[in-house]
């Protein structure tokens, strides 16, 4: 019955996107056109976008023995060093899980990627045979600019079989994107056009940003997929925490634009540092410290994105929402339609679950049998961004 959402098979204009609005407390749901987006918020609310630009994170090349191999960047691991997932022959037209495994590679092996760019395998990673660290160089006197220019010359956006036509870099950027940290597009931001930002400003709805290295949504290796989302780098500037504190003080609500913005805020509030790497996996047991609502895609059941929504509304309501979305012809995946979930009030959630929240939730999780929802949140006092950051 579930998971019957059809995927959007190509990039669509923001004007064509519809938004399913779901209120967890009243269980009300309705579908509105994306042009109505600015009317969904009140003066004083604050929207938090992930301003990461999307990298051309798919690099294809050949081993020294001439075998085809594709690298998908996973995370920067220091100067010119990247963790990457390896794939064998083929490209995005084949479903990730059907791709042949990569050729056998050992430390020191080189992969020619074009434009003089060479990846040298420097370490294997314990999580999966497909996960390795490489060093990227363009020659003996490689400058950082040379490596970045080469990555941009040969790299393509990561994409999946449901979108057949090759994506261009401009297909996967939000209008406000800055530093290229995202391995896949933080696609919830697609509906925030320049006109929408302008209208939000007119309505005194503040828009601020975090930067979060939104990661791959599929790796082709079930063991690695089960670990998604992997730890991801984030940065939340003091100005953003200040804007959130101001919004709270005036009774405004905090809306994360995308699951990656939610992860940066909740993860950042827990770590209490301006930037870092968060391994927080938001799920049904997560007591939200910062975020009141999340705007995201329409996600199929038992994906990590769906799991994140369980922190805002219970599973039964989310299943109803997916049925509603599917019956109204809403589309799934990164170019699909959107879903705005107003969570149960944060205070109420904490009170109801009390100190046993984690234990209670882990029971629920195992009964679901989903592979993605493994809350790792530690128990402890409820924190907010404001208190953590001493504002």
């Amino acid at each position: 019955m579930n998971g019957a959402l059809l995927p959007a098979t190509e990039p669509r204009s923001a004007a064509d996107v519809r938004i399913l609005v779901l209120e967890a407390s009243s269980e009300a749901m309705r579908v509105v056109p994306s042009s109505a987006l600015p009317t969904l918020f009140r003066a004083g609310d604050v929207l938090v976008v992930n301003d990461a630009a999307t990298l051309p994170a798919s690099l294809s090349g050949r081993t020294e023995r001439g075998e085809s191999v594709e690298l998908r960047l996973v995370a920067g691991a220091g100067e010119r060093r990247w963790s990457v997932v390896l794939f064998g022959e083929g490209d995005h037209h084949t479903r990730t899980e059907d791709r042949p495994p990569p050729p056998e590679l050992g430390e020191g092996d080189r992969i020619e990627l074009g434009a003089s760019l060479v990846a040298t395998l420097v370490a294997r990673r314990p999580e999966s045979p497909r996960l390795v660290d490489v060093e990227l160089t363009t020659g003996p006197a490689t400058s950082a600019a040379d490596v970045w220019a080469a990555i941009y010359r040969v790299g393509k956006p990561v994409q999946y079989a449901h979108v057949p036509r090759p994506l261009e870099l401009w297909d996967v950027q939000n209008v406000y994107a800055g530093r290229p940290w995202a391995l896949e597009m933080p696609s919830a931001g697609r509906v925030l056009t320049g006109a929408a930002l302008r209208e939000l400003g007119r309505r005194d709805v503040e828009v601020v940003s975090v930067t979060h290295a939104a990661g791959l949504s599929s790796t082709g290796d079930p063991a690695l997929d089960a670990l998604l989302p992997l730890p991801e780098q984030y940065e939340v500037l003091p100005e953003t925490w200040e804007a959130i504190a101001r919004a709270r003080a005036r009774g405004g609500r905090v809306v994360a634009i995308g699951t990656s913005a939610a992860r940066a805020l909740e993860g950042g509030a827990r770590l209490g540092t301006r930037s870092g790497i968060t391994d927080l996996r938001i799920g049904g047991s997560t007591r939200r410290a910062v975020v009141d609502a999340v705007l995201t895609g329409v996600h199929e059941v038992d994906t990590s994105h769906f799991a994140l929504l369980s922190a805002f509304a219970d599973r039964r309501l989310l299943l109803r929402a997916i049925e509603q979305a599917s019956s109204q012809g809403l589309l799934g995946h990164e170019f699909g339609d959107a879903c705005l979930v107003w969570g149960q009030p944060r205070e109420k959630l904490a009170t109801r679950r009390g100190e046993d929240a984690s234990a209670e939730a882990s029971t629920k999780v195992s009964s679901r049998g989903g592979s993605c929802l493994v809350p790792t949140e530690t128990r402890g006092p409820r924190t907010t961004g404001a208190t953590v950051h001493g504002l």
Binding site: S143, W148, A149, Y152, V175, A177, G178, R179, P180, S209
Partner: protein, 216 residues
């Protein structure tokens, strides 16, 4: 810094690094007239130095030289001039604008020309592209204030482009690019006080002029 020729660009970057120790200089060899290059430039630049807050659009082309009359100019050559001088800056502005949209501050400078205002025989393609670029800056300013968009007429400079256009000109009568660069620095310093979308003359921001208050 972005330009098409990697060797000259790398040499210029090395010279700046020598003359201004501690300055971060990066050279990216791309063509702003190439649609594919735009997000590559924006992405690589943001990866290297973070979000841009000041962008100077100074790449441009005359088209075929010697410059033909419009009536003799192939349409494709006009399109090629517009691709570099108008569509390139438009695309690159969009690609670099993101963080400024959220911060509500930032500055784009567009290098213009006298040919944007006055019509001269043989300068049609170039003049049209520069007039359009001036208006691009004004239009961005009307839409996105307080982010600032200014056009700057550098005056006639002793450059390879000028020699291509008017090989018979006496270089001694032409402005030095370094002086124009100094004027541009002064414009950047004063950008907040200048009407958004304005078209400026670099000569009005030369050191002596500024001291006289002519720029105010």
């Amino acid at each position: 810094m972005v330009a098409r020729g990697k060797e000259e660009l790398d040499a210029a970057a090395a010279e700046i690094a020598r003359e201004a120790p501690g300055a971060q200089v990066h050279a990216l060899a791309f063509d702003v007239g190439d649609k594919e290059a735009i997000y590559r430039i924006a992405g690589a630049a943001a990866a290297l130095v973070g979000p841009s807050s000041i962008v100077i659009h100074n790449a441009s082309t005359l088209g075929p030289v010697p410059m033909p009359l419009l009536v003799d100019l192939p349409c494709e050559d006009l399109e090629a001039v517009l691709a570099v001088n108008l569509v390139g800056p438009f695309r690159l502005t969009k690609a670099l604008l993101g963080p400024m949209l959220l911060a509500r501050r930032g500055l784009f400078l567009y290098l213009s020309s006298d040919a944007a205002v006055s019509a001269y025989p043989n300068w049609g393609a170039y003049g049209v592209s520069k007039a359009a670029q001036d208006h691009l800056a004004r239009s961005f300013a009307a839409e996105l204030d307080p982010i600032r968009f200014l056009s700057v007429d550098p005056g006639e400079m002793d450059t390879k482009m000028h020699a291509d256009a008017l090989p018979e000109a006496d270089p001694k009568t032409l402005g030095r690019p370094a002086d124009v660069a100094s004027s541009i620095v002064r414009i950047i310093e004063r950008a907040e006080t200048i009407a958004n979308g304005a078209r400026l003359s670099a000569a009005d921001f030369a050191p002596t002029k500024v001291e006289e208050g002519a720029a105010a």
